[in-house]
């Protein structure tokens, strides 16, 4: 379950990142700086998330909390789907330079959900490591799964999902899977009791 959550979290981040390019393009164009701004914000958010996730793992780590992180990230994506147009319209009027417009709007819309996703990996490592000696191996395996998830999220979103569905439908779909998987994680805790 922990691996599923970490893998899906990777999928989710990259799916949302690709869609963010779509969401920003009508307002700020498709210049190279748009992707530059988006990637910067996602990397910053993930780095902050890693830090926060590691910190959170110090206090009574449970699978339930990990699952809640996933659901929280999904919830934080809902405003993106609901309010991206008015937010972008407003910013377009306020920030003349599309480079900074991209940076500000990507931060407002995507920083929080991405940072929460970033919390998942270090938190998951804490749940999985039972022995000091294995910690590197466990971390390696977890990065493998979550980055594989990211690769799948990138490929499937850009090759297929954008062809079949519109941006909002994909966002809601991604968030829906997160909520279901998170609910699964919470339910598992109730059957197995405390993990780790």
């Amino acid at each position: 379950m922990v691996f599923s959550i970490a893998g899906w979290s990777g999928f989710f981040v990259m799916g949302v990142e690709l869609l963010s390019g779509r969401i920003l393009a009508p307002t700020f164009g498709s210049g190279i700086y748009v992707w530059g701004g988006i990637i910067t914000v996602f990397m910053l958010a993930l780095s902050v998330g890693y830090l926060a996730g590691g910190r959170l793992s110090l206090h009574r780590p449970t699978l339930r909390r990990l699952a809640l992180l996933l659901m929280l990230a999904a919830a934080a994506t809902a405003p993106v789907a609901l309010f991206n147009e008015p937010v972008l319209d407003w910013l377009f009027g306020v920030v003349r330079d599309p480079r900074y417009g991209t940076l500000v709007s990507a931060t407002l819309l995507f920083f929080i959900p991405t940072a929460i996703c970033g919390m998942v990996s270090p938190y998951a490592v804490r749940l999985l490591v039972s022995e000091y000696r294995q910690s590197g191996q466990v971390a390696g395996l977890l990065y493998f799964v979550s980055t594989l998830g990211s690769a799948a999220g990138t490929l499937i979103t850009s090759f297929y999902l954008v062809l079949w569905l519109d941006v909002d439908q994909i966002l809601w779909g991604l968030a829906g899977v997160s909520v279901l998987l998170g609910a699964g994680g919470v339910a598992m805790r109730e059957r197995h009791g405390q993990v780790a």
Binding site: A25, P26, T27, F92, P98, V162, D166
Partner: protein, 296 residues
């Protein structure tokens, strides 16, 4: 074995040589967005964005630099038959600057704004294609969509908007959506018109047509090797008015070897696409996937 291979390779090179020798690369540079290649053949100087041959972005006749080389440019210029004296023009996508050059010379009263995303294209057009600076031409190094949005907010209006930002390799997807075309429509002065050069083939053709129809209603569909769409929200003229317009602009365009009368005959409003194709929007715009070769 290896020697046989290299002999075969040499033979292939020799066979291909007559075509290859004719092309001299004059300039090449990697810009933020692509590889820009300027080359000369016996007759033409061309700008190309990919290494593969055939994808000529823009060409001029070296001996007669004013002669318009491509039919699609002539088709777009024939839009002047609908509206012979535009005073304000917006061109999205500069290329070698052919459209700008012709319009600037042919219409001495017109002010021309150009939105071109790639500063390197502006440089190359100036240095190798003779794009002149003129007080009536303003080149904005900016994404076309961003330019259009700002122009709308600033209350600018154009009598003619030309969309020429696509090539056969890549379509900027945010420039082929219902929302973008609505913004362009909003920029039109009363009686203003849009002329768009598109490269759609296969499935995208249906989607593109449905998208234009959803914003503009009936439009002229002009087809040769490329496809040009000419739309006018205030209504299209009848065949007689079109012929009259073509006769009026003919002397203006003759120095550039453009005869609009030749093209207005092909201005057709009959839909030849699947009218139930899904409209492209900002939320659904997989244009390049739909345009991929080999897709049914």
């Amino acid at each position: 074995m290896a020697r046989w291979h290299s002999a075969a390779a040499l033979a292939l090179v020799l066979l291909a040589a007559p075509a290859a020798r004719a092309d001299t690369v004059v300039h090449t540079e990697r810009s933020l967005y692509r590889q820009i290649l300027v080359y000369d053949d016996d007759e033409l100087r061309c700008m190309r964005f990919t290494k593969q041959t055939g994808g000529r972005q823009s060409c001029i006749d070296r001996a007669h630099p004013r002669r318009v080389v491509f039919d699609y440019v002539k088709m777009m210029l024939s839009a002047l038959a609908v509206n012979p004296a535009p005073r304000s023009i917006l061109i999205v996508g500069l290329g070698g600057g052919t459209l700008v050059d012709v319009l600037e010379r042919a219409l001495p009263d017109a002010d021309i704004d150009v939105a071109e995303i790639d500063p390197a294209v502006v440089r190359v057009a100036t240095q190798y294609f003779g794009l002149r600076t003129s007080p009536r031409v303003h080149v904005h190094e900016e994404d076309g969509r961003v330019y259009v949005k700002h122009a709308l907010r600033e209350g600018k209006r154009y009598d003619l908007v030309m969309l020429d930002a696509f090539d056969h390799e890549y379509i900027p997807e945010h420039l082929l959506t219902q929302e973008f075309l609505r913004e362009v429509k909003g920029l039109l002065a009363p009686g203003g018109l849009v002329a768009a050069n598109t490269f759609s083939s296969s499935r995208l053709y249906d989607h593109e047509s449905a998208t234009y129809a959803s914003v503009f209603g009936a439009f002229y569909n002009v087809k040769a090797s490329n496809r040009v769409i000419i739309a006018r929200p205030d209504g299209l003229p009848d065949a007689a008015a079109l012929k009259g317009g073509a006769a009026r602009v003919q002397p203006l365009l003759a120095p550039f070897d453009v005869d609009p009368a030749r093209f207005v005959e092909h201005f057709d409003t009959k839909p030849d696409w699947r009218t139930d194709a899904r409209v492209l929007t900002d939320k659904y715009s997989p244009s390049n996937l739909l345009n991929a070769p080999g897709r049914p």
